[in-house]
Structure formats: C-alpha cells, structure tokens
Symmetry: C2
Subunit: 218 residues, 2 copies
Amino acid sequence: MKIAILGGTGSIGEGFALRWALKHEISICSREIEKAVKAAGDYSGTLLSKGLLCCGITGCSNETAIGDADVVVLSVPYQGVVPLLKNLRPYFKDQIVISLVVPMKKNKWFEFTPPKQGSAALEIKDTLPESVKVVSAYHNISAKKLANLELSLDYDVVVCGDDEGAKRTVMELTKEIKALRPLDGGGLASSYMIESLTPFLINLAIRNGLSNLGVKFV
Amino acid sequence: MKIAILGGTGSIGEGFALRWALKHEISICSREIEKAVKAAGDYSGTLLSKGLLCCGITGCSNETAIGDADVVVLSVPYQGVVPLLKNLRPYFKDQIVISLVVPMKKNKWFEFTPPKQGSAALEIKDTLPESVKVVSAYHNISAKKLANLELSLDYDVVVCGDDEGAKRTVMELTKEIKALRPLDGGGLASSYMIESLTPFLINLAIRNGLSNLGVKFV
C-alpha cells in the first residue's frame, strides 16, 4: 500500500515509517518539503544501515502524498489539525485516514479536552469528505519505542472505526509491527475512550515515576 | 484494620474477604443479615479448607459494620448506592470508603453514564459526611479471578482520592493481594477515567472474544 504520513518528520511518524517501509511505500509529508525530503533520506539511511530493504520512503508535499495514498496517517497535534485538513480536503477521495490525534491541554495535569463531537476522530470525520474512512488508533504508543527497531512492542492497540474494511486494514497494519496486538474497539463513537487514555497515561507516568507507558488488556 | 464490605455477599465482595481476611477483620454486610452471616461462614470455611488462618470474617448489618469499621468497601451496583448511603449516613464518621462503583448501562453496548458530578466517586463523596475519606479503586478487577486464591493477579490498580493518607492505605491494601500493583491516579476528580474503563473493557472483551479483562500499564 501507499502510506502517507502527515507529521512524518516528528518522532511518532519516524517510527511508523521505519516499521512499515519494509512492506509499503511511505511518503513523509510536511508543509516544508525540504524537511520531508531530509527526513525520508534519514529514515532510508537508518534502514539501510541495518541491512533492511525497504519499498521506498520519499519526502513530498501534503497535497501530492494524500492524492496518491491508500492510507493517510495523521500524526499531527490536535491544535491546527482541522484548519490543515480543511485546506487539504480537495485531495481526499476515499483513503483510509488513521487519526492518532488527541485533544488535550496541560493545566496542573494533562486533561482531555474533546471538541463538541466528543473526540478528535469524529471531528476529523466531519471535516473530510464522507467517502473518506476515518479510523482511530495508536494514541498510546510511545514514539521513542516505536522508532527503536530493536524493540518488540508488547502493547495492545485499540482500533475504532465505522468502516469495517478500513478497520480490518488498520488491524492488519498493526500486526506488522512486532508484538502489537490490535483489538477491535468498535465504532468511531468509542474513540473518545482511547483518546482520553493518553492524558491519563501521561499523568499516571508522572505521578508514579514511570515513562513511555502503553496499555495491555489482560 | 476492620474492613466492612457492603455488598459482601456478591462475588467481588467474596474475593476481597478471602484476600484480606488473612491480615484484617472482615465484616460482610448486607441488608439481609442471614445472607451476610451465611456468606461469612462460607468464606471462613473456604479459608479453613485451605489451611489458612484468618483474623475473622463475620456477617452483620450494614449499620453495625460501618460504625465499627476503619475501611468500608462499596461493592454495590450504582443503581441504589446513593439512596443506600443516605440511609446509612448517620453511621459514617471518618472511615475510608473505597468506591468500586461504576455508573453504566447497557444499550447495544455498555456505556458509561456518570452523574452530574462526573463520577460515582464524586457523587458518593457528596452524599457522605465531609470527614469521610472517599477513595476510588478496583473497578477493573475480575471478581472471578479475585475470588480464586490460587491466582496471582498481574494487574494494575489505579487509586484516586483527595486524602493522601487514605489513598496510601488503599495502595498498601492493594499490595497485600498478590501481584496487584497500585498506581497513584491522583485526586477523586480523575476517578471518571478509571470508572469509564469498565464498560470499555467489557465491550472490548465481547468484541474480541476475551474475558475477565484487566489492565496493565507497561
């Protein structure tokens, strides 16, 4: 598949690029093309240095990457995601869009601050054409651990989405990342649960002297 | 300590009685005293048959048990908990009250249905005298596994409460149950997160063919 990673120059984007490039064509997208091209080169270099053959990682503009993609990964901060997607709306057709977006703010502690739709995923669905299949996943994966290819990630990934086929595709993509277990979290209406886990996990980590927490349902 | 278990004749109550009776005096409470006395006898018998010496498990009325207790465990359904506590209010002084209560209902799936305070724990705090120390914990522990003394419970228990001393006591009680790891979840205002995990876990279990799910933060 062709996977475009919006926010692909950030650390969680790096992890997905490195993990998925072995089987898929990856586009690293950014508003600053030079930055995207540089990151794509760096990630390709990382894989090459480990003797791993990849299907290609290229850097390009958001517009080009989205138009070409089967799957678009939104690894961008909540602040700004809706204006960004409004601008890019003409380039979306029927792609699978994976939202990692968590609306949260920090007061004394981190707080989940959902939009009126109840979750970022539902707001994103409202922003994009109806034919786009929004799936919500990967909110609670440590960027640092994902980007470290030596690590096996023994975590659960709850996947929510209203399109069953798209949800299954994302669950299969999840299985390609070593030790991640995808769990069907139901429709997009349940996305608020996995989104709100993120600030909760960050607070838990801070209070209890832990770091990079993920979740296992056992 | 003297621990009173309201709803102690139910299965989650049984597990706490069996696990804590080795170091504490347990009162099994019920509106039907005969039922409480019978359950206390059964639990004592279970421990005896395993050659375990306990500090005593007695069955008694809610009123007597609460008046005597250091810790009161509320393992009762959300429906009815507020009227029950309003009736029992005169018997509360400065006990630690552990709320396991989850406000939820089942439509097609289980849904978290918090009261206006945001969580059952906060509503319970509003219902009891101010001197009572409400702590929220154990919402996501399988009653079946807790009651099986052969099992080591490799789960995390997030504990929320506004009184630091009471929260520490509950975290210590948690450590007495083999392999449970207590985590400080902050104040009672965060209780909605751990309460809302319960319907989410039940739905996850149903959708994914799993059962008796607990949580580990790793």
